[in-house]
Amino acid sequence: MGMTFAEKVLAKRSGNEKVVPGQIVMIKPDHLLMHDNAAAITAKIKDDLEKHGVVSKELPVIVIDHVAPAASEKTATNHQDIRKFVKKFRITNFFDVGHGICHQIVFEKGLALPGGIVLGSDSHTCSYGAVGCFSTGIDRTEAASLILTGETWLKVPKTIKMTLKGQLQENVSAKDIILHIIGDIAADGATYCSVEFWGDIGQLSIEDRFVISNMGIEMGAKNATFPVDEVAVEYLNSIGLAPSDYDAIWADDDAEYYMEKEYDLSAIEPVVACPHQVDNKCLAKDLSDTKVDQCLIGTCTNGRLSDLVAAANILKGKKVHPDTRLLVLPASRKIYEEALDMGIIKTLSEAGGVILPPGCGPCLGAHQGVLAPGEKCISTANRNFKGRMGCKEAEIYLASPETVAASAINGRITDPRGDI
């Protein structure tokens, strides 16, 4: 019997010929991702760092993105502590305020490679499955230990195979696919599992795959991955990585899956995850009575160029409804500059959008668009938990950039198909 993607990566990296689900293996990740929480992480091991130093100055990747630029003296001091740590230990992969969201930076800089392993002190570290990397989230304490040792344990997960069949309708996108899947399988439907996406994936761009892998955690998955194909190779080429720079791993044809699911993409309609759970699946067309006070396009899920283009195509020549506000956050400086060059930023601004700096923005409720009691926000983010955007009496609806853009025009939740 063959092995799944997760089994093969973990076998290879732990020096085992074969591993089975449930087995505990020791691995050394290629990189350890941290963001603003690097301040708290390094504070835990201040004395240990004096004694032992960092295990490798190339291991950590630190991106200041969560509350960036700083919103208070406290967050400013966190950033200052991170810069001191970076200088003192000559950390090579450091990206200060303005570079963008950590997951996008890892992706753009080629720090997550096919067949590699990346761990990160952020739950959306699972995003790099888009390029066939085994990546998953850990907590701050484990990140602290990894800075010192470079090694940790992983339990070999069971694997779920999801086959995507058929073609998407116009103005239905990757976000709708993953919200549909999570609605089907439930927020804990893939807990502890590795998820592999197969089928008609050639139609999904690398950005689409990122959206889907990013939200793997919202069904409880340990990682969520696509096989490396021409689309992935082309993307990696575009950032200067040739196939000889990585060692892609594919599941065996006779791998054993814990569960297999099939989804017909042509039947998927624009989906909205209603408050306060990501698996609370509704259809945009059924929510046209729901007024929204704020519309957010951005975050690590949907702040890429294709997302901004999709939103601009809908908003071009139109105005944001006077009873709502539109916030736009490019996921990185690179995306911001590309969108500027293409005139996308101008289109979104002319429509009435507020362009925020590359970063996480209001997604986690710390700044730049916190909600008031009773307000409703439709967002391209990945979580709609109660209190997520800073107010427990507010409501968050999750949707695609197309649906959020259409909703911004009408001031109420709008299906982006057809006339708006």
């Binding site: 240990d48 032992h52 739950s123 907590d139 230990s145 807990t191 938990f385 209190g387 800073g390």
Partner: protein, 159 residues
Amino acid sequence: MTKVWKYGDSVNTDMLFPGKYTYTCGTAEEILPHMLEDLDPDFAKGAKSGDIIFAGRNFGCGSSREQPTVGFKAIGIKAIVAEGYARIFYRAAINQGLVLIECPEAVQAYKEGAEVKMDIDAGEIIIDGQKFNFPLLPKEILAIRDAGGLLAYTRNKLG
């Protein structure tokens, strides 16, 4: 009698510890007043060492946010018994030396006011005299928990 705090399914990390405090509260002292703030305002005031938490499916889902595990450990929560956990939370709990028990049968059997006893090392929970068994962690993982958490374990190793 052991005090039990009972919660439902999908208690997420924002309910356990609101995201807006994640970059301003790092130490146990800073974390404790905000524990379960948006879920159960009585918890931070009333929880005591030796208390037990019962919960449903997918406990701790959401962010990589270890503050709730730091808070539970600082309070001295004896164990959390749930039908299931999100994996980052589960891992974070081990790394803080906190005891998590996955035992759906025990959660379903628990009624308010029931007497709860447990022998963690033996893998047993007794609810009003009815015994339930739960699987023990592998020895590699127990070694981390029993060292008092991952940093203590790592320090022992590094010397």
